[in-house]
Symmetry: C2
Subunit: 455 residues, 2 copies
C-alpha cells in the first residue's frame, strides 16, 4: 500500500475549486485578526494576555461551530519586559530607539555605561580577539534586504539569536544589533535570542536609523560610549497551552489534516501579521470547509500554538505529545509569514504522494500559486517541529517582501493586513486541507519518517 | 524705473547653468544634514539643543567661508516635554502610541481618565453640542492622503492647530487627533497647536494604527475610556536667535537674495527633512556660488531661522527687524518641505519682473522644474512672514508625496534624505539665488508691497 499512488477523486477537486472561490468572499479570517488585535492586542508568552488570548480563541472556535475544542498544556520560561532605555553619551549625546531581545538579561540597576565596539557582520564578531571586548558593548550592524522569499532573515535572525551568546563568551558587557528588519522606521525589531551555554547579558536591537547614527559616530573614529538600562528577565516558568479545534471527519475521524499559526506575539505591536494572521487563515479555511453539506473524510484540525516566539514551545510540545501517533496527522501546514499572497507550494511527502500534491497544486494554480516539486516543505515554524517527528508537510509560501518591514515591531498592527490577499491565503489553505482530508491514500506521515531529509 | 522690465544678461544665464551642473556634484548640503543630525540631533526650540545647534551652524558657516556671519535674537515661549503616556482602559485595555502637541497643557499629576467622544472631522467637532463634551476626551479621526503638493496637510494641520482650542471652549478635558500624516507607522506626529483665547488642555496625537484601534473600539458602541498622562508645559520665555550668513555682493552689497530654512525641529526625530534640509540646501547653494571667481552683484544671504515650529517666531522677528528696509531683500525663498525633487517654481513678484522669473525658470527647466506663472509664491514658512511685510518671493515646490509620512515623527532622520534629490534642490536654489543677485532691476520688494495679494 505504501507504493500505491495517493490520489484525489475528480469530484473532490471540483468541491475544492468551489471552496476556493467561496473563501475568496469570506471574511472570517479578517474578523479574527481584527477581533484579537482590538480586544486583546499584544500577546507576549507568559504575560497577562497569554491566558486572555487563549480564552478569546476558545470562545471564537466555539462560536464558529467547531465540533471539538480543547487545550493541551505547554510550559515555558516566563520572560518579562519592564522597561528599556538607551542613549549615546559620547561623542555626541543622542537618545536611542531600542528594544530588549527575548531572554535578555537586565542591566545593573541604574544602567551600564561602556564603550561600543562595532562589527559589520556576525563573522567579524566571531573573529574578534576577546581581549578587545572585555566590558565593552558589542554592536553588529549587518543589514537585511527585502526579498519575496524573505531569505535575508537568515542574516538578521542569525545575528539576533547567536550574537549575544558569542559576545557574552568573549567577555562583552552587552550586545546591540541593527534590527533584523528591512524597513527604515525608527521602530526596533525584537525577537528571541539564545544564551544556551552562555551567561545571559543585556541584549537589544536598535532601529535602522539608530543603527545608522551609531555607525556614523563609530566611523568618526572617536570613542563611542552608550548608556543602556534594560529592566527585564526570566521570572520562573509559566504553563500556557496549545488551543486546538477540530471538524470531525466523516469516515476516518482519527486521521487529520493540521494547520494553524501561533497565538503568542511580541509585545511592541499587536501581533496581527505575526501571527494572528496564521491562526486566522487556518480558522477561516476550516470555516468554509465546515460550510459544506458533509464533513470531509478525515478530520480538520486547527492549532493555535503557544509561545512560538521564544523557541517553538507549542510546536515541540505538540510533537512530543503526538509523536507516537503522528501517522494520524496525514499532512500539515502552518502560516507564519504574514498574510500577503501565497506564491508557491512545496511539499515534504512520500514519492507516491507527489501526484496528489500536483493535483492540489492544480486547484491552487488559479490563485497564482506555483508548485515547486524540487524544494521540501517543512510545514512552517511550530509544525516544523511536528514534521521533525514524522508528519508529512506542505509549505504555502507567502510573499515576504513587506513582512520584515513590520515583523516584531510596534508596526505589527491590523492595518498591515490586506483583506484581499488574506482571503487568497484562506482559499489556499481551504483547498489544501480539504483535499488532504479527502485523499485516497496518505502522504507518508509516520514516526521518524523524515529523519534523513536535508532541509 | 518701476515699469522697466527686470532682465538677466545672457552671460549670467550661462554662469547659472554652470552653477546648476556644479551643484549636482556637490555634497555640502548632505554633509550639513548628516553633521547636524549626527552631532546635535533633535532641536526643540528652547531646549538644550537650541543653543548647541546655533553654535554648530555658526561654526559651519565660518568654515564654509561666508564673508559675514551673525545672529539676531528671537524670543519665544519655552515649551517643555517631560513625558507622555496613554492607554485605553475600556472596553479593551491597550497601550497607545501618542505624542503631546506643542503648547499642550499637562494632565493632573497621575493622569486623567475620561470617556472618549469621537468625531470624523473638525467640522463635526465644531457642530457638537458642548453639553455632550463636558469632561470628555475629544478625538478627531480625520485622515490625510499623500499628494505631490501636500495639500491634505490643510486637513491635518487644521485639526491639530485648531481642534484643541475648540475642544477646550466646549468643555472637553483633553484632545486627541489622528496624526496629521500620511503613513501607517506606529509613530505619532507632533506639531504645534494654538490655544490663543482658550484655556490650554492636554492635547496629543495618536499614530495612525492607534487611531484605527480607537475607532474600532468606538465603533463597537461600548463606552471607551482612556487614561492620559502628559507632563509638559510652558516654562517662561527663551531667547534664541536667527543665524545669518552672507556672501557680500560685489556691486550692491546692501541688497540681497535671501534663502534658508529653520534650525529648530520637533524632538521625536532628528529634524533631517524638517528642516535641517532647508538650511542645508541654502548653505549648499551659497557654497557653489562662493566658488565663482567673483561675488554676484548683490549679496547672498542664508538664514537659519529660530523656532519656526511653534509659530514662525524666527520669520516674524526677521520681518519686524528688517521691514523698514525690506526693499533691500530683492527676492527670497525658503525650503521647508524636505529634500525630494523640486517640480515647480511659482513667484509673487511685480509684473515687470515676470520675464526675469521666466528667465530663471528656463535655467531650472533641465532639472525637471516647471514654471507656473499663475500661482503666487509666498517664499515658504518663515519667509512668508517676511513676504507679508513686502519682500518679493519665489517658491520652489518640493515633491511632498513622502514628506508627511515622516514629518514631525521619530522617523525624521538622515536616511530619509535622498542625496541625489537633495543636490537637485541645491542646484535650483543656486540658480535662483545667483540670477536674482545679478538681475538688472528688482522684483518688487518694498514695504507693504503684497498687502492686497490673495493667497
Ligand atoms: Zn511567527
Ligand atoms: Zn515572530
Ligand atoms: Zn518645517
Ligand atoms: Zn515642521
Amino acid at each position: 500500500a505504501a507504493n500505491k499512488p495517493t490520489a484525489i477523486a475528480a469530484a473532490d477537486l471540483e468541491t475544492a475549486a468551489h471552496l476556493r472561490d467561496q473563501a475568496l468572499q469570506d471574511d472570517t479570517a479578517y474578523d479574527f485578526v481584527a477581533g484579537i488585535t482590538t480586544e486583546i492586542g499584544a500577546r507576549l508568552a507568559g504575560g497577562p494576555n497569554d491566558e486572555k488570548a487563549r480564552e478569546w480563541t476558545i470562545a471564537k472556535f466555539h462560536a464558529l461551530g467547531f465540533d471539538k475544542v480543547w487545550t493541551e498544556p505547554v510550559t515555558y520560561p516566563k520572560w518579562v519586559r519592564r522597561s528599556e532605555h538607551g542613549e549615546i553619551l559620547a561623542p555626541y549625546a543622542q537618545p536611542l530607539a531600542l528594544v530588549a531581545l527575548g531572554y535578555s538579561a537586565a542591566t545593573p540597576a541604574g544602567g551600564l555605561e561602556a564603550e561600543v565596539v562595532g562589527f559589520p557582520t556576525l563573522d567579524a564578531l566571531k573573529a574578534a580577539d576577546p581581549a578587545t571586548l572585555q566590558g565593552k558593548i558589542v554592536f553588529v550592524g549587518a543589514r537585511m534586504q527585502a526579498y519575496r522569499d524573505g531569505h535575508d532573515y537568515g542574516i538578521g535572525s542569525a545575528v539576533r539569536t547567536g550574537g549575544p551568546a558569542i559576545a557574552s563568551h568573549k567577555g562583552a558587557a552587552a550586545f546591540l544589533l541593527r534590527s533584523a528588519g528591512t524597513d527604515s522606521n525608527r521602530l526596533p525589531h525584537t525577537g528571541v535570542t539564545n544564551f544556551t551555554g552562555a551567561t545571559p547579558i543585556p541584549a537589544a536591537a536598535l532601529s535602522a536609523p539608530d543603527a545608522d547614527l551609531l555607525e556614523r559616530m563609530l566611523a568618526s573614529g572617536k570613542p563611542v560610549t552608550i548608556r543602556l538600562a534594560l529592566d527585564c528577565g526570566i521570572e520562573g516558568q509559566y504553563t500556557g497551552a496549545n488551543v486546538i479545534a477540530e471538524l470531525r471527519g466523516s469516515k476516518k475521524p482519527d486521521e487529520y489534516f493540521v494547520m494553524g499559526g501561533h497565538l503568542d506575539s511580541w509585545d511592541p505591536g499587536t501581533g496581527a501579521i505575526d501571527d494572528a494572521a496564521g491562526v486566522a487563515i487556518a480558522t477561516g479555511a476550516a470555516k468554509v470547509i465546515a460550510g459544506l453539506p458533509k464533513r470531509p473524510a478525515r478530520s480538520i484540525r486547527v492549532v493555535a500554538f503557544a509561545n512560538e516566539e521564544s523557541g517553538l514551545f507549542g510546536g515541540k510540545s505538540y510533537a512530543e505529545t503526538h509523536k507516537a501517533t503522528i501517522g494520524k496527522a496525514v499532512l500539515g501546514s502552518e502560516s507564519d509569514a504574514g498574510a500577503d499572497r501565497i506564491w508557491k507550494i512545496t511539499a515534504s511527502v512520500k514519492p507516491a504522494a507527489r501526484d496528489a500534491i500536483a493535483q492540489i497544486a492544480a486547484v491552487l494554480q488559479p490563485l497564482g500559486i506555483e508548485y515547486d516539486a524540487k524544494e521540501p516543505g517543512n510545514g512552517g515554524s511550530d509544525l516544523s517541529a511536528v514534521h521533525a517527528v514524522g508528519m508529512a508537510a506542505v509549505s504555502l509560501h507567502q510573499d515576504a517582501t513587506r513582512y520584515f518591514d513590520w515583523h516584531h515591531t510596534a508596526n505589527d498592527t491590523l492595518d498591515k493586513i490586506d483583506p484581499q490577499q488574506l482571503r487568497q491565503n484562506v482559499a489556499a489553505y481551504a483547498v489544501t486541507a480539504y483535499l488532504a482530508a479527502q485523499a485516497d491514500g496518505d502522504f507518508g506521515s509516520k514516526p521518524g519518517a523524515w529523519a534523513n531529509e536535508h532541509e
